[in-house]
């Protein structure tokens, strides 16, 4: 429970920082950190069976591929 409470406090601090303190340009990197915390601690992927980890990794790779394709499209217009 302590691990969860610390993660929750971190998530709230990051959310409040990107809402009220930090310039808007940092909002997406902060969102990525929050997403990582949720996946690793709340969804417990760090300690999950290899199959869910592979499924998550493949989804992440496909997402990266989609982002790269979008970037390539925008950059070459």
């Amino acid at each position: 429970m302590t691990r969860l409470a610390i993660t929750y406090a971190l998530l709230m601090a990051l959310a409040l920082a990107s809402w009220l303190v930090v310039p808007a340009g940092y909002a997406l990197p902060i969102a990525a950190v929050k997403a990582g915390l949720i996946v690793a601690v709340f969804m417990d992927l760090a300690r999950a069976h290899p199959v869910p980890r592979i499924a998550a990794l493949v989804a992440l790779l496909l997402f990266a591929l989609l982002c790269a394709g979008t970037y390539a499209d925008v950059a070459t217009r």
Binding site: L4, A27, A31, A35, M43, V51, P52, A55, A59
Partner: protein, 185 residues
Amino acid sequence: MISGRAHALRITVWLVVASEGLLFAGLFALYAGYRAEYPRGFAEGVGLAVGWLGGTNTLVLLTSSFAMAAAIQAGPRAARRWLVGVLGLGGVFLGLKGAEWAIHIGDGLVPGAHYAGPHTPGTALFVTLYYAMTGLHALHLVAGLAMVAWARRREDPAVTECVGIYWHFVDLVWVVLWPLFYLLS
């Protein structure tokens, strides 16, 4: 036998979450492509957002995720109480989202022919994406609430854990949606 069932449930929900993630990934790519094409229109669109509602909803959903994680770690009886908290916070999120949509609709920020917002190129597109993506997220949240209510009745730790993974995924999607529609002006 029970652990085998729990394992199968866990893998199933992870596969569902991974495929749902790709559905949202396509929409994020669409947003990125249009944002690159209409940077001013999208920045103006973000300026139309009701910032305090989006921020409050973020805090509400993060808190619901914590409650869900606590429900998974707690015993079956304590889990029921935590799950009531998740249901309540999910309801608050939907209520605030509905209030926000009502404000936008009242301001004429609606997709299609009745759009009456700023005419900077791309802003109407931003509004359409706003409704499509936050609406799809809200639908996932409604499905999540139904699952949480079901898990509360079942009092089965494996079911609670799997519903929790789905709930955290819904939170995760919002964590990315929030900067796109409320912060990146």
